[in-house]
C-alpha cells in the first residue's frame, strides 16, 4: 500500500523540483547571456539611456517604461470591468445568463492575441487616428484597451472562482439578515475573496507585461522615450521580437537578454510583493 503512495509523492516532488529548477535555469540563462552588456558597468546606462545601437547605446529605458505604462494602464481599465463582470456572474445574473456569460468568458481566454490585435488594427486604430487628428493612430492609448480586453477573461475567471470559494455559511448569514446581493458582495464576499482577487490582478498584470502581439501591432514601436499616452512606444516584449527578427549575434541581439532579465525581475518582484502583502493581511484577519 505504501509503495504507490511513495511513488506518487516522488513523482509530485520531482515535478515540483523540476519546475523550480526550470525557473531558476531561465534566470541563470538570461543572466549569463546578459553578462557581456552588464560586466562593463553598463547597468545604469542600460536602464536609463535610450536605444541607439549605431551610437553604441543599448538602453532599454523607453521599452521598460512602455511595458510598465501599458501594463498599468490596461490593468486600471480591466480591473473594474472584470470585477463588475464577476459580480454579475456571481450574484446578479439569473442562472442561465450566468452560465452563458461564463462560457463566453472562457471562450475569450482561448482567442489568440493576434485576433484581438488584428481586429483593433482595422477598428480601433483608424478611430484613434481620427480622434487624435495626427499620427498613425498606433500609440499606448490604442494598445492599452485591447490589452485590457485580453487580460480581462483571466481576471474574471479568477475573481469568480474566488467568490465561489467564500463559505456558503457566510453568504447565507447575510441573506438571513436581509442583506441585498450588493451588500453581500461588498461586506462579505470581497473581504473574504480578496486574496484571490489579488492573485487575479497579479496574473493579469503578468499577462499584460508579457504580451507581445498587442503592443507589437498597436503601440507603434517607436524606440524614442514617450511623454504622452498618445505617442508611439515599444514594449520590452515587442523589442525582443523585433530585434530577434533581424539579428542573432550582435550587441543589439545580446541586449534583448537584458530585456528578458528585466522582465523576469520586474515580474518576480511584483509577485513577491503581492504575495507578502496577501500573507501579511491574511495573518492580520
Amino acid at each position: 500500500m505504501n509503495r504507490p503512495h511513495s511513488l506518487t509523492e516522488y513523482i509530485f516532488l520531482t515535478a515540483a523540483v523540476c519546475s523550480g529548477l526550470l525557473t531558476a535555469a531561465v534566470f541563470i540563462f538570461l543572466l549569463i547571456f546578459s553578462l557581456p552588456l552588464l560586466e562593463n558597468g553598463q547597468l545604469t546606462d542600460l536602464l536609463l539611456s535610450s536605444w541607439a545601437p549605431d551610437k553604441g547605446m543599448y538602453g532599454i529605458y523607453p521599452m521598460l517604461m512602455a511595458s510598465l505604462t501599458l501594463a498599468c494602464l490596461s490593468l486600471s481599465i480591466s480591473f473594474p470591468i472584470s470585477l463588475g463582470c464577476s459580480f454579475v456572474i456571481t450574484a446578479l445574473a439569473p442562472a442561465r445568463l450566468r452560465r452563458l456569460l461564463l462560457s463566453m468568458v472562457r471562450l475569450m481566454t482561448g482567442i489568440p492575441t493576434v485576433v484581438y490585435s488584428f481586429a483593433a488594427l482595422f477598428l480601433l486604430v483608424p478611430l484613434m487616428r481620427n480622434i487624435l487628428g495626427q499620427g498613425s493612430g498606433m500609440c499606448i492609448l490604442t494598445a492599452a484597451p485591447v490589452l485590457a480586453l485580453l487580460i480581462a477573461p483571466t481576471m474574471i475567471i479568477f475573481f469568480v472562482n474566488s467568490f465561489a470559494n467564500v463559505p456558503r455559511s457566510a453568504t447565507l448569514a447575510v441573506d438571513a439578515l436581509g442583506g441585498s446581493e450588493i451588500q453581500k458582495l461588498l461586506y462579505v464576499m470581497i473581504p473574504q475573496a480578496w486574496p484571490g482577487i489579488i492573485n487575479g490582478v497579479l496574473l493579469g498584470f503578468g499577462r499584460a507585461m508579457g504580451d507581445t502581439m498587442v503592443s507589437l501591432m498597436l503601440a507603434g514601436n517607436s524606440v524614442s522615450p514617450f511623454n504622452s499616452l498618445t505617442q508611439s512606444a515599444r514594449s520590452l516584449t515587442a523589442h525582443i521580437a523585433l530585434v530577434m527578427a533581424f539579428d542573432f549575434d550582435s550587441m543589439e541581439f545580446k541586449s534583448i537578454f537584458v530585456c528578458g532579465l528585466f522582465l523576469y525581475i520586474v515580474t518576480a518582484l511584483l509577485m513577491l510583493l503581492l504575495r507578502m502583502t496577501t500573507l501579511y493581511f491574511s495573518g492580520k484577519r
Binding site: A95, P167, A170, A173, A176, L177, G178, G179, S180, Q183
Partner: protein, 243 residues
C-alpha cells in the same frame, strides 16, 4: 392561556427541482411560544424554517405552493406575496443556524451589521443597540473589552451567542433556530436554552431540535416531521416557561 396565532400555513408544499420535500402542511404556531420541530435528518425540518423567511429563494431549483401567513407589525401578511420584499421579511423573521456563522469582521461589526444593512448609521444608536443585544445574550461582560477582535476567534458557544445577538439586534418578531445547540457543549447549550426561554417574552421562537430532553425542557409545542409530512398533532408541554 391561549396565545394568538403568529404563523399559519395552509396546504403548504415545497419542491426541490422535481422532488417534493414538504407535503400539504397546514398548521398554526402561537405567538410568544417556543415551538419545537423534530424528526429524522432529511425529513424537511430546516426546509420548513427556510420557508418562513423565504431563504429558500436563495437556492436554485426550489418552488413552493400553498399559503403562509405571518402576523407582522400587527397585520396578517402573506409572506410569499411579492409586495413584501424578502429583505423586509427577513429583518422581522430572524434566523440562527446550526453552525455558528460569525461574519469575517469584528465582534462589534458582526452585531452592528444588520443595522448597517437596514441603513441605520447613527453611531450612538448603533452602539446602544450592539450593547443591548450583547447584554441580552449574556455576552457583553465577556467581550466588552475586545469588541474589535475578530468574531471568529470566540469559542463555539460564544460564537453562537454572537449570532443570536446579531439576529436579535433588529428586534425580530419571529426567531427561527435551526438546531442552535447541536454544535455546542452541554454548558454552552444550557446557556442558550436559558436565553431562549427569556426571549420568548419578546418574540415567537420556532426551533428545530433533535434533542427530546431539550424539547421537553423549553418547548411549549412540538411537531414531528417525517418524510416531509407533519405527522403528529401538536403536543402541549406543561412547560414551566409558560408566559
Amino acid at each position: 392561556m391561549e396565545s394568538p396565532i403568529k404563523i399559519s400555513t395552509q396546504a403548504l408544499c415545497f419542491y426541490y427541482h422535481q422532488q417534493q420535500v414538504l407535503h400539504d402542511i397546514s398548521l398554526q404556531l402561537p405567538t410568544n411560544r417556543i415551538t419545537a420541530i423534530t424528526g429524522p435528518s432529511g425529513s424537511g425540518k430546516s426546509t420548513f424554517l427556510m420557508i418562513l423567511n423565504r431563504l429558500w429563494e436563495e437556492i436554485e431549483g426550489c418552488s413552493i405552493s400553498g399559503k403562509v401567513t405571518v402576523e407582522l407589525d400587527g397585520r396578517l401578511q402573506d409572506i410569499n406575496n411579492k409586495a413584501l420584499p424578502a429583505r423586509v421579511l427577513r429583518r422581522k423573521v430572524g434566523m440562527v443556524f446550526q453552525q455558528p456563522n460569525p461574519l469575517p469582521m469584528s465582534i462589534f461589526k458582526n452585531i452592528s451589521f444588520p443595522l448597517r444593512l437596514a441603513h441605520i448609521s447613527d453611531k450612538n444608536q448603533t452602539g446602544h443597540a450592539v450593547e443591548n443585544a450583547l447584554r441580552q445574550v449574556h455576552l457583553w461582560d465577556e467581550v466588552k473589552d475586545r469588541l474589535n477582535d475578530d468574531g471568529r476567534r470566540l469559542s463555539g458557544g460564544q460564537q453562537q451567542r454572537l449570532c443570536l445577538a446579531r439576529a436579535l439586534v433588529l428586534k425580530p418578531e419571529v426567531l427561527l433556530l435551526d438546531e442552535p445547540t447541536s454544535s455546542l457543549d452541554p454548558e454552552a447549550s444550557a446557556a442558550i436554552e436559558e436565553l431562549l426561554l427569556a426571549l420568548k417574552a419578546q418574540c415567537t421562537l420556532i426551533m428545530v431540535s433533535h434533542y427530546q430532553d431539550q424539547i421537553q425542557r423549553i418547548a411549549d409545542l412540538r411537531f414531528e416531521v417525517r418524510e416531509g409530512r407533519f405527522i403528529s398533532p401538536h403536543t402541549e408541554y406543561k412547560s414551566a416557561s409558560d408566559v
